[in-house]
Chain length 371, copies 2
């Protein structure tokens, strides 16, 4: 296929550029049906990641920073420890690989942890990647493969045929039109700002603000080896002594400023848990907008309009689900729609649900979601 990527800004500078890059389906696992679907997708995608990373490194000649370090989830007091026991039992009931660690064992594995740690779970298969490296490598690999990358080309609307059932192309902001029989809508939190679709062919996606700090240890790597997660945040170590400290989860609309409160709480929790954090340099305060659907599960595959494939709504799991999403999108474009995973990601699952403001993705009335 002949492929053009249209980016409203510079490629690789959106939400993915801010993401920490955890490949952590086990520690992210949540209760409920939608969360179960996300877990299933996450485990599948985590399984693909190592091969995807080496393919991408081979295709681009660049590294992507995949680190197989595992993840520690820690509790800082008795309340958090009780919750962690519940989380452990839940993961074991799903046969997810996890290990219960007493505080002393956790501190043996990660001596940077404070003595106040009460309990920890190790998820040995939850790894991380450096999204900025991934994005650069993806761009390079696309260029080599002949993809036409157009930056500062914001899509204003999708053009349909007269009957409104078939994609014909795209209109750009300002001027310009791109003719296309197939369109993949992967606009993240900005999905709802692309016009042209009939109301019942749309999908509600809202921005979920996340504040993240990028830290650097002037003494080099070594403060932490593993990803460390705690109630309200995480610390992701890179190989070179850099750390990503995230993240707030805020329903604030399209608001891209770091705040005193968000930064304060992340620094407070992280330095309480890993006292050495105090000595780290702050390289950046970043804000990203995660694309959230009503059930916070992604939207991948064909919808009501022929020729339009959805790939959005990945919320906290955009980097983790990238290779799986790519595979499902390609299958859709090739007309193969029998993968059972596509069912969980069906863009049609919110159809007929009224009360969603499609621009903001927010529920405007008290009418509940129904299939």
């Amino acid at each position: 296929m002949s492929v053009a990527v249209l980016d409203r800004d510079v490629t690789g500078r959106g939400t993915s550029y801010v993401a920490a890059g955890m490949l952590a389906p086990v520690s992210e696992a949540g209760f409920g049906e939608a969360a179960r679907h996300v877990l299933e997708l996450g485990l599948r995608s985590a399984g693909i990641w190592p091969a995807f990373a080496s393919d991408l490194e081979a295709a681009s000649g660049m590294e992507v920073g995949l680190r197989r370090t595992g993840t520690l989830v820690v509790a800082r007091d008795d309340d958090e420890a009780r919750e962690l026991e519940r989380q452990l039992a839940f993961r074991q009931s799903l046969e997810l690989r996890t290990e219960r660690l007493r505080a002393s064992a956790a501190r043996e594995r990660e001596p940077g942890l404070a003595p106040t740690v009460r309990l920890a779970i190790e998820a040995p298969d939850d790894h991380s990647v450096d999204p900025r490296q991934v994005l650069q490598a993806l761009r390079r690999a696309c260029e080599i493969a002949g993809v036409d990358i157009r930056e500062r080309a914001a899509v204003e609307s999708i053009e349909l045929d007269g009957a409104g059932g078939q994609v014909r192309g795209l209109h750009l902001h300002g001027s310009g039109r791109v003719s296309a029989g197939r369109v993949v809508l992967a606009a993240g939190a900005w999905t709802g700002q692309i016009a042209g679709l009939p109301r019942d062919a749309q999908v509600p996606v809202r921005p979920v603000k996340g504040q993240i700090l990028r830290l650097r240890d002037p003494a080099g790597a070594g403060l932490l080896g593993r990803v460390v997660r705690f109630e309200g945040g995480y610390l992701v170590p890179r190989a070179d002594g850099r750390y990503v400290l995230g993240a707030t989860v805020e329903e604030k609309g399209f608001e891209l400023s770091p705040t005193a409160g968000g930064t304060y709480e992340l620094l407070r929790d992280a330095s309480e848990l890993v006292p050495g954090v105090s000595e780290l340099q702050i390289e950046e305060l970043c804000v990203g907008l995660r694309p959230g659907t009503p059930d916070n599960a992604p939207v991948i595959g064909p919808g009501a309009v022929e020729g339009l494939t959805w790939a959005t709504g990945h919320h906290r799991n955009g980097i983790l689900l990238a290779p799986l999403t790519a595979g499902l999108v390609v299958e859709t474009l090739l007309g193969k729609t029998e993968d059972p995973l596509l069912c969980a990601c069906d863009p049609g699952r919110f159809m007929g649900v009224s009360g969603w403001d499609l621009q903001s993705g927010e529920l405007q009335s008290s009418i509940g979601a129904q299939r």
Copy 2:
């Protein structure tokens, strides 16, 4: 006189660009002989500021953001309240205008203060300016006056005559020489890096790191009217809903990175004291290097080398002392050295004191200071 300004970087982007701009000799007043000199200088300069500001605004056609709001110094617990009573008595013994405020009266004047405030002092004559506006206006006024401003022109050394007693000019890094019979050394924390002076004609100046946050209230001005000072920091409101939150005082050498610990402590103290701070956006994390002398008082006036005038070592008071320093420098250049204030700023007061590392400004041995 024909004047050239040589700046190692872009003008107005050094420590002054980071400074909060408090004109606060009363709340800065400290115990001890050197501090008494700094107070005297500060009171004199604060008195000059209003006329200086209006002259500068007239000369440049630009505003400098002088705000006559006064300053509240607050105590958050009983220990701090006891210390504040001591500070109040000290200021009253010096006949400095101050008012003791119970917590309720302080919160009446500044409703943004937390209920945890125990006691406050109001210093009604301690005001503030916006140093960034001052710097822009100074640059413009200099240009209009015909000053030759040379940026990215770092001075490597001062050239003396054969006997070493008289200034002849300056050598620039890379190449280039400027012929000058009179040189004003105003290189701030970088003073010691300018070579060419005999050892006993030098002055020890060390960098004192300060971390500062620049905050902005998306709701506009109103959270605070006055400058608010507390143990370990201050909040300086600008007219437009922006706030400067500072500052750490760190002996770390030439280290210009914001740290997790510094940022955390400033945010913790400020949001504990003014809970509305949590909602503010963080626009910048900045770091400045204050120039500190062994007694932390400035060095202004003539030294051992003829033709060389000192104007450095202003530590926390560079903006406050700017107009006074300018006046003293001009007097020195005109050969008038009878001002008694010049005595307190005498560059010769550290001469013959061994043990100072003149590059870093740090005391290398345990030999005490002596005149």
